[in-house]
Amino acid sequence: MKVNWLKYRKWYFGLSGLSIAISVFGLIRWGLPLGVDFRGGTVIEYSFPSDVSTEELDDLLQQSGVETSSVQSVGENYLVRLGQVDRGVREKVLLDLKARYGEDTEEISFENVGPMIGSELIRKTMYAVLISAGGILLWVAFSFKNVKYGVSAVAAMFHDSFILLGSFTILGHFLGAEVDFLFVTALLTTLSFSVHDTIVVYDRIREISRKHGGEFSDVANNALNETMRRSINNSVTIALMLLSLATLGGSSVHWFSIALLIGTILGTYSSPFVAVPLLVTWLEKARKKQVNT
């Protein structure tokens, strides 16, 4: 079965454009749901021996004199987000909760991040992205002896990470997802995923054009046909692992697995439908220019 994938190039560009537009909308309208790692503040997870409702817990915390920014139930436990609190307040809150819900009330985890850490995390992430992207660009350009290959691969890579950011504005707004340092890890992994798939397709393009030659768009199209099943099957196996991690792995890695999952899907999509069409269009335009001059 041979499909002329590249015939529908405009659709792919359209779909990517739409996704990017939605991401821009999400970023402007809701912004990234920055977690405590970025904003600074405190997150405490409590477990209670008796039944608790979020409203009741919120009220009780207000009475204890702390300003909560959110109270959320996670599995059987409750996650409370606060501003910066000192040790005295933290201990008083635990005592109040014990008095109300029983002695077995426990502080399961506690996280406090100073206000300076967040901006550093952002800057370090930017450096990490720039170094990875730069390295990948050079590597792809070097192994395929053409800068256009590298630029197209990196463009697809940024396409993926931008849409991943956009999807988290939506997940954050509607489902309470948060962007933390694990998300940063997922973002960087998406970069490498994306380019991993792209290189496999590029490699096939190089092989076919060496063996048979021909019009570049035909070569690229053959390469897409030959690698399509592999791309899909490979991302299915990765998705199977990540799906079970997202559903069974517990709350700490839930959104991390979801972010990796979205990244995997985007990375698989962008190689045949963003990187290669971009490359083909670019090379065709360059050729036309050469012919004209």
């Binding site: 399961i108 100073g114 096939r204 890695v253």
Partner: protein, 447 residues
């Protein structure tokens, strides 16, 4: 013809040796990756650790997984050192001794396998302390984070409040111990001075007979004993309103020495032991579930070939786990995610090869040749593609400790397991499955 058969014979011999090698590696890796105690068919088995004593050389190695804070429970404290007005040289030496003093305090506190690191980013100096098993951070923070500068002062005759510090400080201490006051039964701290310190103390007490010698810790008055007579024995006693725990903490701080620069707590993270256990259970469940689905998928989609890939995948699993124990890699929750991700990626090379194989077979090429071509061709793209992934893993793991990149443990844990997974998948995805397939197809061809 004869040439061909010789070649084939060689290939079979080589394949035999390779299978043996794979078998041995698998058995060793399985052994290492087993838990130290496990139940099978209603019986309990124990895995022994390496313990060899031969001709005076003893090799002993425990094969236990090292789990990170988020899996065993514990706390991570980040202190920022006040080094803003220091020259580079001063700062370097201050930070080095800061790290040493904190390490001594933590060790005296009795935490097993703590980790203490300096991290520097854009002019800010931080000390990151990880304390496995410690969940009461109130005590840990005050113990580790206090400057603990001890000073003996003299009363200021001209004003009511002020004290005049002397040159007798914590640096003149030989050691400090907790003791109990014989009259009141309250905990006290007994100080033993060095020779020079003892002389200084004698001078000070001589000057101040009938007056008090206030003892200050970090500028705070903790005790104000009145000198009855010149003290020449070189010991002093601090009594005050403190509990036995506070006395112990003070002793640790005094013995470890004062911090060369004051520090502030800027970030803190504590995970309870129960949450850690829960995370381990859940990760194992997710791993088993995901792995079985991948195994099933490969078998359903690629039939016999898929089952060979499955064998390779299981070998991948045990080798990776064994490497975690041998290197050792500290396994954190993101690290577990990295491992699971690498399982998903490990079959990539097989899928790539099998798809290629399918195409080659369609062209009418015989099985053995199609297989060889697929493996050879797939190797190029796997290599090129994985180098890109390794590059990102390198940036995330930041092995050279570049200060402008992340140095945080969890991100590192993820990157290291991911990189390791890719490395092992080179071996299992290409070498193992190629050898297995050659053998199977070789035999099938003879029949």
């Amino acid at each position: 013809m004869p040439y061909h058969s010789v070649l084939e014979c060689n290939m079979h011999q080589r394949a035999g040796r390779r299978i043996l090698l794979i078998f041995i590696i698998t058995v060793v890796a399985t052994f290492v990756s087993l838990p130290s105690e496990f139940g099978l068919f209603g019986k309990t088995f124990y895995r022994r650790d390496l313990n060899i004593n031969l001709a005076g050389i003893s090799v002993s190695r425990k094969f236990d997984l090292k789990l990170g804070l988020d899996l065993v429970g514990g706390s991570r404290l980040v202190f920022e050192a006040e080094t803003t007005n220091m020259s580079d040289e001063e700062r370097d030496s201050a930070l080095t001794s800061l790290r040493e003093v904190m390490e001594r305090r933590v060790n005296l506190f009795g935490v097993s396998e703590p980790s203490i690191q300096i991290s520097r980013f854009e002019g800010r100096d931080r000390i990151v302390i990880e304390l496995p098993g410690v969940t009461d951070t109130a005590q840990a923070v005050s113990l580790v984070g206090k400057t603990a500068e001890l000073n003996f002062a003299e009363e200021n005759a001209h004003s009511e409040e002020g004290f005049i510090p002397t040159d007798l400080t914590g640096a003149d201490l030989k050691r400090a111990v907790v003791s109990f006051d014989q009259v009141s039964g309250k905990p006290v701290v007994v100080l033993e001075f060095t020779g020079v310190g003892g002389e200084k103390f004698a001078e000070i007490t001589e000057r101040n007979v009938g007056k008090s010698v206030p003892i200050l810790l970090d500028g705070q008055l903790i005790s104000m004993p009145v000198v009855q007579d010149k003290i020449i024995g070189g010991t002093a006693q601090i009594s005050g309103e403190f509990s036995i725990d506070e006395a112990k903490a003070m002793v640790i701080q005094l013995n470890a020495g004062a911090l060369p620069v004051p520090v502030n707590l800027v970030s803190e993270r504590t995970v309870g032991a129960s949450l850690g256990r829960e995370s381990v259970e859940k990760s194992v469940k997710a791993g088993v579930m995901g792995l079985s689905m991948v195994l099933l998928f490969m078998a359903l989609f690629y039939g016999r070939l898929g089952m060979v890939a499955d064998v390779g995948l299981v070998i991948f699993g045990v080798i990776t786990l064994a490497l975690y124990k041998l290197i050792p890699v500290v396994l954190t929750l993101p690290g577990v995610a990295g491992f699971l991700l690498s399982v998903g990626m490990a079959v990539d090379s097989n899928i790539l090869i099998f798809e290629r194989f399918r195409d080659e077979r369609k062209k009418g090429i015989n099985v053995a040749w199609a297989l060889e071509t697929s493996f050879d061709r797939a190797w190029d793209s796997i290599k090129d593609a994985n180098i890109a992934t390794l590059l990102t893993a390198f940036v995330l793991a930041n092995p050279l400790d570049w200060p402008f990149l992340h140095t945080s443990g969890p991100v590192r844990g993820f990157a290291i397991t991911l990189a390791l997974g890719i490395g092992v998948s080179f071996f299992t995805g290409i070498f193992v499955s190629r050898t297995l397939l050659r053998t199977i197809i070789g035999r099938g061809g003879k029949r």
